[in-house]
């Protein structure tokens, strides 16, 4: 159940200008007023035809104490992005995007604090890029792929990601270890009956919480993504949460009657064996009806 996040630290950034240009994809920002702004600013971007045509990208800032600017393909996309903030989702054409994270007073993306990193985004997938600390406290960025597969009715998905400057941890759900030995920047994905759990994070092999316990609503039909971020040494470990809903299944039918007492047709109507008003039948005035009711009762 434990999957590795794709760590993007140290990815070689292409300086080829031609390739750069092709990587300047249209940025489209979802169904908000921002979409209009994007259209005006970038001059006529085709809208997404369907979710399967685009990649969805959220950005989490998990580096304590550092307000940053986020550049996507050298364009300032998130100005004064604060620790603990979650931005997006951005709706993007599939392709590779170059993300650079700079100090908030930088004039451009030329001297990033993190990156530049290349994020390869596929159509129909949902991603979160997290700026965070490594286990030993250095700023980095990790691209996570969010599981948006459909859930059975009544179930919720809980994803836990370790992006904190801390050693391996266990995640306790209602006091018992639900995830063990989770290391930065790995994740673990659980499918659970929907409902609220009391979650805590402890050093692996222990039950003494370093974060929590805190109530987490593992919402039905939703991927609830919890990030353990911050720094153990600096005593600012915290939980961040991102939710992706719409993954639910629906009941297949509603069977809300069994007696035919308000039916608009009559029994035996089609065979011509009309035997009277059904209300009369219910009163037990016909042996056939009594037999029928008994049979039906036995089948229930």
């Amino acid at each position: 159940m434990v999957g590795e996040g794709v760590s993007l630290t140290g990815v070689n950034h292409s300086q080829n200008p031609k390739q750069e240009e092709t990587m300047h994809k249209s940025l489209k920002f979802g169904m908000t007023a921002g979409a209009l702004g994007a259209l005006v600013a970038l001059g006529g971007i085709a809208p997404a035809q369907a979710a399967s045509d685009v990649a969805m990208l959220s950005v989490l800032h998990g580096v304590p104490g550092l307000t940053v600017d986020v550049y996507v393909n050298d364009k300032l996309t998130l100005d004064d992005f604060k620790p603990g903030d979650l931005a997006g989702p951005l709706e993007l054409a599939p392709g590779t995007y170059t993300v650079a994270i700079t100090a908030s007073d930088a004039v451009d993306a030329s001297a990033p604090a993190i990156g530049p990193v290349d994020l390869p985004l596929e159509a129909g997938k949902n991603y979160t890029a997290a700026a965070h600390l490594t286990a030993d406290g250095k700023p980095t960025a990790t691209l996570f792929t969010n599981d948006i597969s459909q859930l059975a009715a009544g179930e919720g998905r809980l994803t836990v990601r370790h992006v904190a400057a801390a050693p391996a941890v266990d995640v306790l759900a209602n006091g018992a270890a639900a995830i063990t030995n989770l290391v930065n920047p790995a994740e673990s994905v659980l499918t659970l009956p929907a409902g609220t759990i009391s979650a805590a994070v402890a050093a692996t092999g222990t039950t003494d919480p370093v974060i929590g316990p805190a109530d987490v609503n593992v919402a039905e039909g939703t991927n609830t993504i919890v990030y353990a971020w911050g720094s153990l040494a600096d005593k600012n470990l915290a939980l961040a949460v991102q939710t992706i809903d719409g993954l639910h299944s629906d009941p297949g039918s509603i069977n809300a009657g069994e007696a035919g007492l308000v039916a608009t047709n009559q029994p035996f109507e089609s065979t011509g064996l009309w035997v009277g008003g059904f209300a009369a039948l219910l009163m037990g005035l016909g042996a056939a009806t009594v037999l029928g009711l008994r049979r039906a009762g036995a089948r229930r």
Partner: protein
Amino acid sequence: MRATVGTFAALAVALGLLAGCTATPAAPPVAPVPEATPSAAPAPLPTAEVEVPRVKSALDLNQVAPSVAPQRIRVESLGIDMSIDPVGLAEDGSMALPSNPAVAAWYRFGPGPTSPSGATIVAAHVDSLVYDIGPFARLATAPAGTEIILTTEGGRESRYTVDSIQTVAKTDVPWAEVFDRAGPARLTLVTCGGEFDYDARRYLSNVIVSATPIP
């Protein structure tokens, strides 16, 4: 506010379609656009061209709020006053209903009366071999404009007015639309009706009442 966002979204889509049609008729649905040529000297501190939605991700600020359960449904003009049980699914994948038609059921995995969007689903058996005809049998003849009141914990009332009542063949009911969790907040009541299959002992149709909140 929702209307404003919707308008913007519709406008944005319309603009995008227009631009796509006039400028690049054969372009793929999501076409890369060339980088705009940089203009003049950059300002000392750049600003972002578009506003990307942002939230605080702290656990206590960004969780999904659980739906609030309706506990009682009243339709005074039809003499309906029933308690409501929260339910999930029956073993066959249908919505689980109390066997007593005088008790209604709320689909607890979907929206509730205080949810900002989506359909609150309340259903009840129309009849029963044990309990006779239930109150929801009266829904089939309710006129548009009929008022429905849901009560949640603490006696808080949510009022709705009936828009439409449809009898739909069970095989044709679009369940994903009925159980829609997006779209405007609304109330949908479901029971059975129409013709009855006397061999299989089941109704062939669902009676579906659509109601919108009274502000």
